[in-house]
């Protein structure tokens, strides 16, 4: 199966899992856990909560794989689940109004967040710090934040974003444009502070 795994598409793996092959599920977990984490983390700005949401998403995959139909891409389906769970978690966090310094970005030295491309030197070369960018993303209204993360961080197409969020492509374009302008303005203000 190890050599064969690489050849299977996501949709083929789901089908194998639906037929009882749990190794297919494990392969899907390996493929999507980090991608989902990067999406959810930019949305929640909390590593601990983001990992929990990703675990919940993959649990949902395990218990509800039978509901997947090959009408849409598997990535669309799994990101839809993750987006909905992330939104619910954000609402819950806002209701609790708990802000812990230990969950805010990369400044927390006690909590080491694994990353395979984090380069501290890069901070001095870029126009904006990573913390500033995350802060600017956090200020965006929900509808702009989601499309910006899916488009700019996850590099998904307009069509896929449209399917994940259940909105028209025109709405996606409009929100991306307005989200980008707001982000740009926010970053400029942060830089001037």
């Amino acid at each position: 199966m190890d050599k064969d795994k690489i050849k299977y598409t996501d949709e083929e793996l789901v089908k194998r899992f639906q037929n009882g092959d749990e190794r297919a599920y494990i392969e899907l977990v390996k493929r999507y856990k980090d991608r989902l984490l990067n999406f959810v983390y930019r949305y929640l700005n909390s590593y601990e909560q983001s990992e929990d949401v990703v675990q919940d998403t993959l649990m949902k995959l395990y218990t509800s794989a039978h509901m997947y139909r090959e009408i849409a891409k598997f990535s669309t389906w799994i990101f839809t689940i993750a987006a909905n769970l992330a939104k619910s978690e954000l609402r819950r966090l806002k209701r609790r109004r708990v802000v812990s310094i230990h969950t805010m970005g990369f400044d927390d030295k006690e909590y080491e967040i694994p990353s395979d491309s984090y380069n501290p030197a890069r901070e001095t070369e870029s126009n904006y710090g990573e913390k500033q960018i995350q802060q600017a993303i956090d200020t965006l209204p929900d509808q702009f934040k989601t499309v910006i993360i899916l488009r700019e961080v996850q590099q998904l197409s307009y069509e896929e974003i449209s399917r994940i969020l259940g909105i028209s492509i025109g709405t996606v374009k409009s929100r991306i444009n307005r989200g980008r302008l707001r982000l740009q303005k926010m970053l400029k203000d942060l830089k001037e502070q």
Binding site: I26, V29, K30, K33, D34, L37, N38, Y41, R42, Y47, E51, V54, Q55, L58, M59, Y62, T63, I113, P114, S115, D116, S117, Y118, N119, R122, S126, N127, Y128, E130, I133, I148, E152, V153, Q155, K173, I176, N177, R180, L181, L183, Q184, L187, K188
Partner: protein, 178 residues
Amino acid sequence: MDCYSFDRIMSDYIDANLNVKTRKEADEHLSICPRCREKLTDMKAVLIELSCLPKLKTRSDFESRLMDRIAKSKEQRESGFVRAFRDYSRPISVVAAVMLLVATSIFVYTSVVIPNSPDSVPSAEIRSVAPDRTMPAPAAAAAGTQLAGAKTETELPDSNKIERPNYNNQIMMVNENK
């Protein structure tokens, strides 16, 4: 094209989603507007920063924690079923026994009791009817009144006038049905 219009289409300009005509108008505006040129350059830089944000990874025990959760969830589902079966098996058994008893009673009643009842309508098996064994109606009525002690003078009807029930027709009809 003015700055306001360019702002509205800037994203499409960056993503190369404009038609030829609009793209040309945007290029013409950029050539004469330093503000929009600067804004475009800045926007492109922001988008590059976003695409280059560090890619996070899950912790090393992520998968094992996930599989543990799945195993626990399976156990809970199974034990929940066993618990439910244990808790409800006695009432379910009682209800099932009562229903069986009721069904059996209905069956016995309809199959045995009703057919053997004297008031029941004869079925395909016709029993012979012997009208001559029965008392003539007027005689029976007279007997009844005598027993009751009523002193009435009853005119006994002429027996020749009495129309006795003709069971033969009924027997013939049933036999025809057979």
